[in-house]
């Protein structure tokens, strides 16, 4: 079999298997983990075994994705169910990396909370498989399949702490609202199919252009329902109500996972759908514009009022969904690139913040108030420093990756003429100083309430390694983002569909991307 990676013919089985290699590897790994834990699920050793198997599976899938990226794999011929482009591979890395970090953080957490549920890891694998399908879906049906795979695994994960009533509430709430969102999405898909007679994203784009469907009522209603479904998944205002309660009740590593990877997957799919299928429909720009403004403003304002760290992070993740929506609203290749870069930065800082929160509390960390961090800097200077860097990065402060990410979004917004949106973004960022800084203030500027106030704070060796790596990554990307920026730019440009008609002006297109 001679393979031409630059022109994979997805109608041939061999080529299709190659194009799906990362997903297939991950499926095998997930099944393997499921088999292993069917026999071994009682002791901490079993838990660890499952965890390491999971990491190995993630690594193998990551290698497969890297290999395809390295070979610059592309599809040729008629549009197929799955996309083969850099956007997908980079998104895959992001999901796999996030999952790996979550697994590493979970080891200590599960042991401390005495949750002997090794299925946890298998579910994480299935969830990331769903995410990869979402980011790679070139067809609305594949997208829906991926979404359901991811969501169902997460419904279970949210309730994996069986003794906790809040966990049960979170799982049920997530399930009910998630089912609603899926319903909206599915109905939207049905209407879009009704209008265009296809579920393939590229063909939808072609149909809209050739049949002049820009103003077809059925198509627009379908698009609106799709946006509602995605709005639920990314927790955009006004579809955000479930997020704080669900994050609050879920085990903290899962909350971090939901705030990062799940959101990233939904955004990646949204980006591809809007960019490839609906590029010629102007209506969504205004909708996303308003969604972005509402999400930024409302998310930040409500976060100001939070007293517990976990809910504050939940609302902060809503606010960040608003920033990402700004990148979506630009609808340009630069927007896609900014979006990818921001996702990396956001994932690192949010995961590290949740990992630190997990170290601080017990029983789900629901009661860790921001004031409880008082004096942490004297007692645990390194933990305090790590959390401070995360907060500054979330705030978008220079010399952290969060700044470069925000900067890139602002570049994309200003260069597509959305200066007002950019101004709203920075004003919202200023508001966010009002809740990120108090964390730093509590840690550094207030005295310890008692000598053993932080005695219970424990971050295992793996957890420490994850946090240290994330913080180092944040600082490194804040100073030297060059390589990742190039990758993001090339990948962002790859998501554009052939028949796209919008005239986008890339922000820094004035030199060819240097090769890999």
């Amino acid at each position: 079999m001679n393979l031409d990676f630059q022109a994979l013919d997805l109608s041939r089985t061999g080529d299709l298997l190659v194009a799906l290699a990362p997903e297939l590897v991950l499926t095998l790994a997930a099944l393997l983990v499921l088999l292993v834990v069917a026999w071994r699920h009682r002791t901490p050793e079993d838990l660890r075994l499952a965890g390491w198997l999971t990491l190995a599976g993630l690594g193998a899938a990551g290698f497969a994705a890297w290999f395809l990226w390295w070979q610059a794999a592309r599809a040729a011929g008629i549009p197929a169910m799955i996309a083969v482009d850099d956007f997908r591979f980079v998104a895959d890395w992001l999901f796999l990396g996030t999952t790996a970090l979550t697994v590493l953080v979970s080891f200590d957490y599960l042991e401390r909370e005495e949750l002997w549920v090794p299925e946890y890891f298998a579910l994480l694998l299935f969830a990331s498989l769903g995410m990869m399908l979402m980011a790679g879906a070139q067809d609305l049906m594949v997208l829906f399949l991926g979404l359901e795979l991811m969501s169902i695994a997460l419904y279970v994960l949210a309730g994996s702490s069986r003794r906790s009533a809040a966990g049960a509430e979170a799982a049920l709430k997530y399930f009910l609202l998630g089912a609603f969102a899926s319903g909206f999405l599915l109905y939207g898909i049905a209407l879009v199919y009704g209008a265009t007679a296809t579920t393939n994203l590229t063909l939808i784009g072609v149909q809209i252009a050739t049949l002049g469907l820009q103003h077809s009522a059925m198509l627009l209603i379908g698009l609106g329902l799709l946006l509602v479904g995605f709005g639920f998944k990314v927790a955009a205002v006004p579809f955000h109500m479930w997020a704080p309660d669900v994050y609050d009740g879920s085990p903290t590593p899962i909350a971090g996972y939901m705030a990062t990877a799940v959101k990233a997957a939904a955004f990646a799919a949204l980006f591809r759908v809007l960019g490839e299928a609906f590029a010629a429909v102007p209506a969504w720009h205004a909708i996303v514009w308003w969604l972005a403004v509402a999400t930024m403003v409302v998310g930040n304002l409500i976060a100001l009022a939070q007293r517990t760290l976990k809910r504050m992070l939940a609302y902060s993740s809503i606010a960040h969904a608003g920033y990402l929506l700004v990148a979506v609203a630009t609808g340009t290749g630069a927007g896609a690139a900014a979006f990818l870069f921001y996702l990396v930065a956001y994932t690192l800082m949010t995961l590290a913040a949740f990992a630190l929160l997990a170290a601080k509390g017990t029983n789900g960390e629901r009661d860790v108030r921001i004031d409880d961090l008082a004096g942490l800097a004297q007692r645990r200077p390194w933990l305090a420093l790590a959390l401070a860097v995360c907060m500054l990065s979330l705030l978008g402060f220079p010399v952290t990756a969060g700044f470069i990410g925000k900067w890139y979004i602002l570049v994309a917004a200003t260069s597509s003429g959305q200066v007002l949106l950019a101004a709203v973004l920075v004003l919202a960022s200023v508001i966010s100083a009002g809740y990120y800084l108090p964390v730093i203030m509590a840690m550094y500027m207030q005295p310890e309430p008692s000598a053993d106030a932080h005695a219970g704070m424990r971050l295992g060796r793996l957890g420490s390694a994850v946090v240290a790596a994330a913080v180092a990554g944040l600082l490194f990307l804040g100073v030297r983002p060059n390589r990742l920026l190039d990758i993001a730019r090339v990948s962002g440009a790859s998501v554009r569909a052939a028949p796209a008609v919008s005239s986008d002006v890339p922000p820094a297109p004035l030199r060819e991307p240097t090769g890999r």
Binding site: Q378, W407, P438, M445, Q446, N482
Partner: protein, 502 residues
């Protein structure tokens, strides 16, 4: 060798020294920090001679940083930034020495933050790339935030947050303006670059957009200066900050605002800056700052707050001098910037020394202490007189030049500003009288100790500068003249010789 590396060394060295301070034993921290800042001063001093007054922007270094975005590490120095750099490096050792007994907790962190702050401040003054400028502008925010918030007074958390949020608001809007500007220039020239000279050379005519961009820059700088309605963070920050924080805040950080006007806001958007409505508004705000700052200072019971409000008045002179756009007024504005750094810095040191002895800064808690602490009283008198602007002190030179220059452009405004000089005497002299003269009626004051050798070592260099600049300012004026001239021409192209040459 020196020319190629000095500016980078000035930025990098304090950061390196900060790491040294952090890793050293706590009781050595202040000594290492002092040695580090003295070396920084030593690195900067040859600039005084190396600098060519007529050479324009010099000692430039330009290294690609994020080339795909047109971002470079580009630095340089001219007659405007030279003195601000020297002022910074001159005040840092004094601030560190002045904190020796004031700071008793978490010393390593304190001195490390002061050093990082130095890096940021130098970076702001030498940056010739708007991305680098923005980074430095924000980077120095964090150390100051911690200095106020950790080592400050009772109400420090509020003051620190207010300081941060105000500055951050301005700087983020400036960020959007920078991006929009770069994009607009890139659209015209096809080159996406944050280089200062590239933007200056190609900014051209922007129409109404220029007003918005100028507005964003104006807001960022006006908050920092601070110009009248944006000044409310300043008294809080000053009163709560520890002595070294107040000194640096007043002496250097406020100058970043006026420096921003001189370097960016006016040269990039001259048409907006010269628009009659904008001119009227800014000159009016400057005057309001001068008079209002003075009047509010007059009624302050807290000596430190009094000095804080006097800063608002002094910076009003700077703004007036900049906008008057004559050679004298711009040179005067630069002089006031330097003098305010020296005099107000010294005043904050003196108040801090009082506070260390009595743990109060209320003016009414003192009285007649000249008999007890004659040295202290003498230094306070000299410094106060220089702050008022008495002839033969540095304060006179700057304010006189501003008034002289402004008189040609805005005669009425210059007249009102002259009243401000009298107001300065009206708030500072009574305070001086109530603190060091009057009868010694508080028994607590009878036991005050006079200045120690260390405190004298902090104050005498400042007094020396006060006298030197007051008597013989020519070397400074000579070095700033060509740059001031070039600034004026970049805003308002010279009608005389240049037009004739064409």
């Amino acid at each position: 060798m020196y020319a190629q590396t000095v500016l980078t060394a000035l930025i990098a060295w304090p950061a390196i020294a900060a790491v040294g301070v952090l890793t050293a034993p706590a009781r050595w921290a202040k000594h290492i920090a002092l040695a580090g800042s003295l070396l920084e001063l030593a690195i900067s001093v040859p600039l005084w001679w190396v600098f060519q007054p007529a050479g324009g922007m010099q000692l430039q270094v330009d290294v690609p940083w994020i080339p795909s975005w047109g971002i470079h590490y580009a630095v340089g120095v001219d007659g405007i930034s030279l003195f601000l750099i020297l002022l910074t490096t001159f005040l840092m050792p004094l601030s560190i020495l002045g904190s020796y007994s004031y700071i008793t907790t978490r010393e390593r962190a304190f001195y490390a933050l002061l050093l990082v702050l130095t890096s940021g401040m130098i970076g702001v003054f030498v940056a010739l790339d708007l991305f680098l400028f923005y980074i430095m502008w924000d980077v120095m925010l964090i150390p100051m935030y911690f200095i106020i918030g950790v080592w400050g007074g009772q109400n420090r958390l509020y003051a620190a947050l207010k300081f941060f949020v105000y500055t951050f608001l301005g700087s983020l809007l400036m960020l959007v303006a920078i991006l929009a500007l770069v994009y607009l220039v890139a659209e015209r020239t096809g080159v996406y670059s944050f280089s200062y000279f590239h933007l200056m050379g190609n900014v051209g005519e922007l129409g109404t957009v220029a007003f918005w961009l100028f507005g964003a820059f104006f807001l960022a700088f006006a908050i920092k200066v601070p110009i009248f309605p944006f000044h409310t963070w300043l008294p809080d920050a000053h009163v709560e900050a520890p002595t070294a924080g107040s000194v640096i805040l007043a002496a250097v950080l406020l100058k970043m605002g006026t420096y921003g006007f001189l370097r960016f806001a006016l040269p990039l958007f001259p048409r907006v800056a010269l628009h009659p409505a904008v001119q009227t508004a800014i000159v009016t705000l400057s005057l309001v700052g001068i008079i209002y700052g003075g009047l509010v200072a007059m009624v302050q019971p807290d000596f430190k707050k009094l000095i804080a409000y006097s800063s608002v008045a002094h910076l009003g002179f700077v703004m007036l001098g900049i906008w008057a756009l004559t050679l004298q007024s711009v040179q005067g504005a630069l002089m006031v910037m330097i003098n305010h750094g020296i005099s107000t810095g010294a005043l904050f040191f003196l108040v801090g020394m009082l506070y260390e002895r009595r743990h109060t800064r209320l003016i009414e808690a003192f009285g007649g202490i000249a008999k007890v602490v004659p040295l202290f009283a003498a230094v306070l008198t000299i410094v106060s007189l220089s702050s008022i602007g008495l002839p033969a002190t540095n304060g006179f030179v700057g304010e006189f030049l501003v008034l002289l220059g402004a008189f040609r452009t805005y005669p009425a405004a210059a007249g009102i500003a002259a009243v401000g000089v009298i107001v300065a005497a009206m708030y500072l002299l009574p305070a001086l009288q109530r603190v060091i003269y009057n009868p010694l009626d508080k028994p607590e004051n009878a036991g005050l100790t006079d200045l120690s050798a260390r405190e004298l070592a902090v104050l005498l260099p400042l007094v020396a500068c006060i006298v030197w600049i007051g008597v013989y300012p020519a070397p400074l004026l000579r070095r700033m003249e060509p740059s001031a001239q070039r600034f004026i021409e970049s805003v308002r192209p010279a009608p005389g010789p240049a037009a004739a040459a064409r």
